[in-house]
């Protein structure tokens, strides 16, 4: 009886004697495992990036609420029965499970932004939005003054990260301007001209100006414009547009707990509003990536299966080649079980080596792919640092599948070897 220790030692010895074949077989396993791990890690990494992105712009406890819109072919109407005003905010605030409601207001006047960047004058029409400081509290440092509405005597303003991305990949590239980052922008001063635009210049005497200071970027604020503390925009709407009751174009509702989100969403929907929840989007991403993972996993499995068939055939050939050795082993006391064990251990070692190499290969390929993508893709703030997530479960899956496929592939050859008749092998020349 050979026992596992001597079987492993002998298997190592045999792999050393048939190195070329061992490398070839392990290579097959390595490629299969590498493909499987690479693809799964890619999907997992993409999912993580998407979820990070969603959770950042719309955390899973958050809901966005907008007036319900009806679309008639290409034309969309806001329902007149679902306006968002302080009364609606109050009704939502008292719903079970709602922690906070953060409205977004838009300035009811045209506005222009004038600034100097890199020594160059810069004029653009802009949207002006009012947001709750709480909305970006975790993204904008408190000492920047956004919470108090006062950034060193001027009004603090936040812009959209996506706007920076669009500027960097579009405008800056075509005009040969330097790339912007939130850090470069921080502290930049600009002038807002309220009540005028390039399409509809306002009468000089009615145009008001306000100094703003960019204090940061966020992925939760409206895209085309600057976002200021809401009280300021509401005051301007009162003073300059004669608004008596504030109208909001969107609310961000925060649920107390993630599991409250669905009930809160249902409650708000029944009030006649359209609701999007971060949880819902996250769930959709999870479902989609799970389908992708299953598909890619299947591809990897097919490759591994092919490698398995290859291993099986090669081992069968090797059993025939080594039949004299098998015969001698039997004649000096190897049982059928011993012979079977030897071939299975040999395959297991090949599988283990191949799987380890495959995991290493996948990690190297993921690293290389990240480098390549980093070079090819534009420098977007929204792009993740890595597109791959080589998590322990994926590594363990790759390793165990590589091992399992190799062992399974070795079962028929090992059985064949065990059933050989030593008397016949040893005496037929």
């Amino acid at each position: 009886m050979i026992g596992p220790v001597r079987a492993i030692r002998r298997s190592f010895h045999n792999l050393g004697r048939h190195r070329a074949r061992a490398f070839l077989l392990a290579g097959g396993v390595a490629i299969g495992v590498a493909m499987l791990v690479f693809l799964l890690a890619f999907v997992a990494g993409t999912r993580r990036a998407l979820l990070d992105r969603v959770v950042s712009s719309l955390p899973i406890t958050h809901l966005t609420v907008v007036p319900r819109s009806f679309s008639l072919s290409v034309i969309k109407f806001d329902s007149p029965f679902s306006s968002l005003d302080p009364d609606a905010v109050r009704r939502i605030e008292v719903l079970e499970g709602v922690e906070r409601v953060m409205p977004m207001a838009a300035l009811k006047l045209p506005a222009q932004l004038r600034a100097r960047f890199f020594g160059q004058g810069f004029v653009t029409d802009t949207g002006v939005f009012g947001i709750d400081t709480e909305l970006v509290a975790d993204q904008i440092p408190a000492e920047s003054g956004f919470g108090t509405g006062d950034a060193g005597g001027v009004i603090p303003a936040v812009i959209s990260e996506d706007l920076i991305d669009m500027y960097n990949t579009g405008f800056a590239k075509t005009n040969d301007l330097p790339q912007l980052t939130p850090e470069i922008l921080a502290g930049q001063q600009a002038m807002l001209f309220l009540g005028t635009s390039s399409f509809r210049p306002g009468a000089e005497e009615r145009v008001r100006t306000a100094s703003i200071s960019l204090i940061g970027a966020s992925d939760r604020v409206p895209l085309v414009g600057v976002s200021l503390p809401r009280e300021i925009v509401e005051r301007w709407n009162r003073e300059m547009a004669g608004e008596t009751t504030p109208q909001y174009f969107q609310l961000t509702v925060v649920a107390a707990r993630a599991q409250d989100v669905e009930d809160v969403a249902a409650g708000i929907e029944s009030m006649g509003y359209d609701v999007t929840s971060g949880r819902e989007i996250a769930q959709r991403i999870r479902t989609l990536t799970r389908v992708l993972q299953a598909a890619f996993g299947l591809i990897g499995l097919v490759v591994l299966g092919v490698a398995g068939v290859g291993i099986g055939n090669a081992l069968l050939l090797s059993v025939m080649e080594r039949r004299h050795e098998i015969g001698i082993f039997r004649s000096v006391g190897a049982s059928r079980g011993d012979i079977r064990l030897l071939f299975l251990f040999e395959a297991a070692l090949i599988g283990l080596g191949g799987a380890l190499a495959g995991v290493g290969l996948a990690a190297a390929a993921a690293y290389a792919a990240d480098l390549a993508l980093d070079r090819v893709l534009p420098d977007l703030l929204l792009l993740p640092e890595s597109f791959f997530s080589l998590s322990w479960p994926i590594l363990a899956l790759g390793l165990s599948l590589g091992l399992l496929v190799s062992i399974l592939a070795a079962v028929p050859p090992a059985h064949r070897a065990a059933r050989m008749d030593p008397a016949r092998i040893l005496t037929s020349g």
Partner: protein, 229 residues
């Protein structure tokens, strides 16, 4: 140790015909005795040797080892019997050519129930017993035919078996080399082992304690009185 064959029969199916390799063989072999089995090619010598060595299960009849039916037990026990009590030597040596003489000799310990801690030492001394003490680390493939058969004998005796079964051990050797090998086997018998040599070289029968003649699967002479026809 005493091996007794009782009406051993072995049938082979070949191309739809049935070949009777052994047609009811009864004989006896003992430790310390050198038995030479002679007969024409195809007469059943190898089949008998394999049956005695626990390598080939007879179709009918029994092989008794010290009175116990060898084939009553399963593959495990038969393997243990081959490992601990029998050493085989074959016409075509059957060595691993890429492994050293010592590695070849140590193979039985791979399957020993309890491999001795001094296995390598035993391997070396087995090689010394066949006068290959200076070829221990030579790859078997580089040895001469005579040396290869000596390595095979060392492998057969490294486990200190009670019987050595040699199937035409000189068939692939020239006359003088063959004589050396026979001398080695005679020496083993003198040291108390049971030795069975299958051959059709009449010269070898000269050294035998007993010659067992076989024809068409039947023993025609020398069965040691244990029920020969």
């Amino acid at each position: 140790m005493k091996i007794t064959c009782r009406n051993v029969e072995k049938l082979y199916a070949l191309d739809g015909r049935t070949i009777r390799a052994l047609a009811g063989v009864s004989c006896e072999m003992r430790s310390g005795e050198l038995v030479v089995v002679m007969g024409r090619s195809g007469s059943g010598k190898t089949t008998l040797l394999n049956a005695v060595g626990g390598l080939d299960r007879p179709t009918a009849g029994s092989v008794l080892v010290d009175g116990e039916d060898l084939y009553a037990s399963g593959d495990r026990a038969l393997s243990r019997y081959r490992n601990e009590r029998i050493g085989f030597v074959f016409q075509s040596f059957h060595l691993s050519h890429d492994e050293t003489a010592l590695e070849n000799v140590l193979v039985p310990f791979l399957f020993a129930r309890r491999p001795p801690p001094d296995a390598a030492e035993r391997g070396r001394s087995a090689l010394a017993r066949v006068d290959l003490g200076d070829q221990v680390d030579q790859p078997a493939g580089t040895l001469s035919a005579g040396q290869k058969q000596r390595v095979a004998i060392a492998r057969a005796i490294v486990n200190e078996p009670e019987f050595v079964l040699a199937d035409e051990p000189t068939g692939n050797l020239d006359e003088s080399t063959g004589a050396d090998i026979v001398a080695l086997l005679v020496g083993l018998a003198r040291q108390g082992l049971g030795v069975v040599i299958v051959t059709h070289d009449p010269a070898i029968s000269q050294v035998a304690d007993r010659v067992l003649r076989i024809a068409d699967g039947r023993i025609v002479d020398g069965a040691d009185g244990a029920g020969a026809p």
